[in-house]
Symmetry: C2
Subunit: 564 residues, 2 copies
């Protein structure tokens, strides 16, 4: 093994703190941005003005590389780390590379995860700031979301001119924290002066439709239009009530005027990285903002971006929702896989993943195969990135190599956690040649004109490999309502477990002979998609028994402790 164990145990924060950042104005300069183009947020963060997109309208776009993965284990497979390392590797090859990734939510940071900026020597910096308040985007979204909620309850309290049925309000409040006690609440108690009592609940901020909107908006004007279209609930005669009816799309857009501008930071190796927007991958589309991706494409020759969860969810939604709405097309896809996760798909228990198990690896490989087939279905070239872990045995790596050759799957080993960009050079070279040689034709797997039902069936059969879809009685009724309200032409946003190709997290590998059950639809008219819920979707996580917050601290120099 080339990987030293001692180094493995240095924390991400320690590595980050030992890195030397350049002033962000130098990073901006490397992208030919002028001082007028951005606002500094301290010395290492900047918000780039949307004017840059106007100014570079005529500029040709760079090549877009989408990083996705097989169905992950609960710890994740290092998709963000590969995204960062690949950007660094492209830069090491002399290419003008720009990274476009999601920004973390504070809830998970203080709960289990501790941080979400890549890992090891493939991180975006300053990781402490990015993991905490960053440039305030999530706070702005929280505020806009909750201002709307306050306006709704105030509207009802002040006489309810719009005839809103308080039992049918679908707009929930949010906090950017894991706070299970807020999942189901009753508000407005205390008598007539305190408002109208009703059932309510809080989601985590990244699950807010406003986050999805911010990430899909193509301009400030488009943002305001999407905000205006949000359906907050229904009247007593079941007609949708929108933000436009409440006349606050202007106020909400004003609250988001800075949040909409992409955040520029750098990797440990000083590669420019846009870290902007982070909608929940389960209830929304799970990709960074369209504006950041578009800006990166104008400023870089190669743009590396990622989508949430595995390719069945993340890549599918990236392609059908984000790409379609923003008219983007990836030039190549990276599918991140690990020996550990493949063994898990082959039946190994979580606590035995460190042991060599060739049979399990062979059995679990079909999960990767299915994702490769899916990406090919979209007409996109791909390279598998085998993200190496200390526990991977040489025999396992050899078997993986053999299987890839057998099924004609292009792959490269990556060791970006350990080595930064250098650990991703082979992957970067392979991608460049794959992009140059590509003669495939990108296609969607469903048309917007298809019925919502057909769209869901298409995704379930073509991507998940399901036999078909069971729609609940509620969904059948909802499909009629969606038709009636004229929302049928929207894309579908699948909400499904990330751990399986099916809707049952215990079905690993490549499940067969299964049905997908859609139990509810959730129209997100502002974001511009219909969420199809399969199984229970958690929109407000809880804290574990010993939250990461207990280890978080600040030393006398003002440096963060306990982020990892």
């Amino acid at each position: 093994m080339s990987v030293s164990t001692s180094k493995k145990y240095k924390s991400d924060l320690e590595i980050a703190n030992k890195s030397t950042m350049k002033h962000i104005s130098q990073i901006a300069e490397s992208l030919q941005l002028t001082e007028e183009d951005y606002d500094l947020y301290g010395k290492y963060k900047a918000k780039v003005s949307l004017n840059v997109l106007d100014n570079l309208k005529e500029q040709q776009d760079g090549k877009l590389i989408l990083v996705t993965a097989i169905n992950p284990t609960s710890a994740g497979e290092g998709k963000s780390t590969v995204t960062v390392g690949l950007g660094d590797a492209l830069k090491q090859l002399g290419e003008k590379a720009v990274i476009a990734m999601r920004e973390p939510s504070l809830g998970p940071v203080m709960g289990i995860k501790g941080g979400a900026c890549g890992g090891g020597y493939a991180q975006v910096l300053p990781m402490d700031d990015i993991n905490l308040h960053f440039t305030g985007d999530l706070h702005a979204i929280t505020t806009a979301n909750n201002a709307l909620a306050a306006i709704i309850d105030n509207h009802i309290h002040q006489g309810n001119a719009l005839n809103i049925d308080q039992r049918r309000i679908v707009w929930k409040r949010v906090v950017d924290l894991n706070d299970r006690a807020l999942r189901k609440v009753i508000i407005g108690l205390g008598g007539p002066v305190q408002g109208v009592p009703r059932e309510d609940g809080f989601d985590i901020t990244v699950a807010s439709e406003i986050m999805a909107i911010l990430c899909l908006a193509t301009s400030l004007e488009d943002l305001k239009k999407r905000l205006a279209r949000i359906v907050i609930g229904y009247t007593y005669d079941k007609q949708p009530v929108t933000v436009a009816n409440l006349e606050v799309e202007g106020a909400l857009a004003l609250l988001l005027k800075d949040a909409i501008c992409p955040n520029l930071v750098q990797t440990i190796e000083h590669t420019p990285a846009f870290v902007h927007g982070g909608p929940f991958a389960n209830i929304a589309h799970g990709c960074n903002s369209v504006l950041a991706t578009k800006m990166a494409l104008k400023l870089g020759d190669y743009v590396v971006t990622e989508a949430g969860f595995g390719a069945d969810l993340g890549a599918e939604k990236f392609l059908h929702i984000k790409s379609r709405s923003a008219e983007l097309k990836p030039d190549a896809v990276v599918i991140v896989a690990t020996i550990r996760a493949l063994k898990m798909h082959g039946g190994v228990a979580k606590n035995e993943l460190a042991e060599e198990n060739l049979n399990a690896l062979r059995a679990g490989f079909e999960n990767l195969q299915k994702h490769c087939e899916n990406i090919s279905e979209f007409g996109l070239p791909f390279v598998v990135a085998l993200n190496r872990f200390v526990t991977d045995s040489d025999a396992e790596i050899a078997l993986f190599d053999e299987l890839c050759k057998q099924y004609d799957i292009a792959y490269e080993l990556t060791e970006v956690w350990e080595k930064g960009g250098e650990g991703g050079l082979a992957l970067a070279k392979k991608l460049i040649s794959v992009i140059e040689e590509n003669d495939l034709q990108f296609r969607y797997l469903y048309d917007l004109e298809d019925s919502v039902e057909t769209k869901i069936i298409n995704i379930a059969q073509k991507i998940y490999g399901a036999m078909g879809v069971d729609f609940s009685t509620k969904v059948k009724r909802q499909l009629q309502e969606i038709e009636k309200h004229g929302w049928s032409n929207l894309p579908v946003c699948m909400a499904k477990t990330q751990y399986s190709l099916s809707d049952d997290p215990s079905k690993l590998g490549k499940p067969e002979n299964f049905m997908i059950t859609v139990r509810e639809l959730k129209p997100c008219i502002g974001a511009g998609f219909i969420v199809a819920l399969t199984g229970d979707v958690m929109t407000m996580p809880g804290l574990p028994k010993s939250p990461a917050a207990l280890k978080m601290d600040i030393n006398e120099k003002g440096e963060a402790i306990g982020l990892f």
Copy 2:
């Protein structure tokens, strides 16, 4: 009348938008700050590092001028406007002036007020940013406050090792919005997996004890110590449970690491202004941060600061809480008065204030007199600033002049709304001479060693002019508990209506023969004071029928609309 009516009706935002700001680095330079001393937040805002205080430890402090007021009308009397205009005037006189004032809360901005950065030609800029998210301080406080709440409920959910009585949790959640429906809620519903059901409520962020702590902390270390001392509730055997018991003071301090750094902005006339911290004046002490005031004193020869509400609340708490804890001493006090408010104290109805009424002015004048006596009691020199309005008649101004002469009260007319610093030159000159000639001895009106009861009685009798204090049965019991827990040596933070010297908002002028009723005490051990509640105190405002948010918008250039 020298005041042109047409100009009066230009909105604050219009005036602000027509002003030319300097880059904030130029303002910082004018204070001899180097680039290492601050972080930019865009081109017109900066956060100044606390290292500056260390570096300037040996530097002599400038002169501190405290701006307070008579009991206000509901519209306010222009205290912030006078604070800004006085700073500008001192600068026009060639003095090195620095302003230190509070930052606005978004709730009132979106509710009734629309903005809170001074007014007219005496404003701090960029008023749109300051009124919206500014540098994120309030969002950081909201997050820290609610992270603590989530940790508390999670602790109980995970087995309640600390034996917290969920009926006796005093730590509430907050939002920086006016949201009456959140005043009284039930959380934790939905069965055992969703947490433990209990009654709860939300306050507005500025009412959070964390805001008071941030404003009283003298260093990052002191901040962490105060956070650790917060009492979040009581055990089943009625012992206090603190943040230290929950072991999250480090995480909370980490979340506040940027919020604790003072924000530097500028006035329309480019006078440096620290706008930092804004605790509710009713439930807390209502002053900007100690750190910003101290920093201003190191950087300026004259520092103009303000305290919330009238002098009976704001100045009293500034002097007994902020000054005492931070070892500050004002060199002079400005008492802002208006003809309108004095007429109201003399019995004129709110809708008739525009009409000349000399008898009412004469009758209401005693409200001003009482505040002047109070400031003298503290051993502080003062100047009354008569803040001129278009509706003030020449006869009224003449009568005011006559009354001031009769009672030997120093005053100057100010027209800073209309004229900026020029409208405050006379006041500035008078203050400089008053400070130079001052031979008074500053004193507190109670000692920390006094019992809590005695402290309250002292304030009620000496400041309010009450005959005495009625303590409710609950308070009598609480006084014993406070004694038992060893909290008796803390100062008292009075929570009382701002509209009257008494605890009855309808008693205007200078009420006599009245008692103050204290109905409840609220120990804020982290902030370091015992709140004494007289009457109902609103800690979560509601929105009006037609909230300011309905007029807020953003134009195609990205400029704010509807802030005023």
